[in-house]
Amino acid sequence: MTGQEVVFVIVGVVVLGAAVRCVTTRELVHAALWLVVALGGLAVQYLLLTAEFVAWVQVLIYLGSVVVLLLFGLMLTRAPIGPSPDADSGNRPVALAVSLASAAALVALVVDAFRTSWIELDRPHGESGPVGESLFQNWVLPFEALSVLLLAALVGAIVVSRTRGNEQRTEQRTEQRDGQRNGGVG
């Protein structure tokens, strides 16, 4: 085992443990924090695989914004301090059986298929320069399509989250402003 493999196994155990805690813990906010640990460890794995640009994008997007969005979602629906006993639904045994079966099948398949494959990590593959050149030479059209999709998703999220549900939320603070807006529109 080389040093990279040792570090990969150690960080992989941390990632897997954090992921298991994330899907089994009964405290909702702790689940989001365990997700931070799992995704951060995955960024370390990307660095070990010499994909540094993807690693920093992972840190920026996932740890920076997605987890914050999830925490905001938890706070806006309900933010129980302490364990909530109804975090798991009634089909836990079925879920456990399905996930164990899929894990066994996938691991057996992967081990059988790639038993003699080695990743050569001497030359880095995935620095920012080559990835950027490849992104803007070969992948420009998917990139632009994805930017349009992101814009559509953003507009869709705004439209979904500010509709006529205002009558529950608008208290005395925004009543006047809404009155003006509705008057202006209608």
């Binding site: 990632v15 909702l28 894990a103 050569e120």
Partner: protein, 121 residues
């Protein structure tokens, strides 16, 4: 590095996310588990891209696209969950059954209708 390490880790991470999707009740926790599954796919893409030394960096570029798609998905998903919570008062996915078929249909016409509809020919 042996290719098995990232591949096995990705498989186990995917199964963990699958368990979370199936076993969780809160919709936001389900979204978190979906994020875990997407992260497992990303690890696979990066590992195989580095293994194959792809000249177009396909795996890493697709990982970047996947991260952007996950951000869009989490935005839309959270907006929908918040809207459902505002109108229904809950985000437990096993209590939102308004659009589902009832497990025990009434013994009058819906059962007859269903048998006539789903009779294989």
């Amino acid at each position: 590095m042996h290719l098995l390490y990232p591949a096995v880790l990705a498989a186990l991470l995917f199964s963990t996310g699958l368990y979370g999707v199936l076993a969780r009740r809160n919709a936001i926790l389900v979204l978190m588990s979906v994020e875990l599954m997407l992260a497992a796919v990303s690890l696979n893409l990066v590992a195989f891209d580095v293994w194959l030394r792809d000249a177009m960096h396909s795996g890493q570029v697709l990982t970047l696209f996947l991260i952007a798609l996950a951000a869009a998905e989490i935005g839309i998903g959270l907006a929908i969950v918040l809207l459902v919570y505002r109108t229904r008062g809950t985000s437990a996915i096993d209590q939102l059954r308004e659009l589902g078929e009832s497990a025990h249909p009434a013994p009058d016409e819906p059962a007859a209708e269903r048998t006539t509809e789903t009779t294989p020919t």
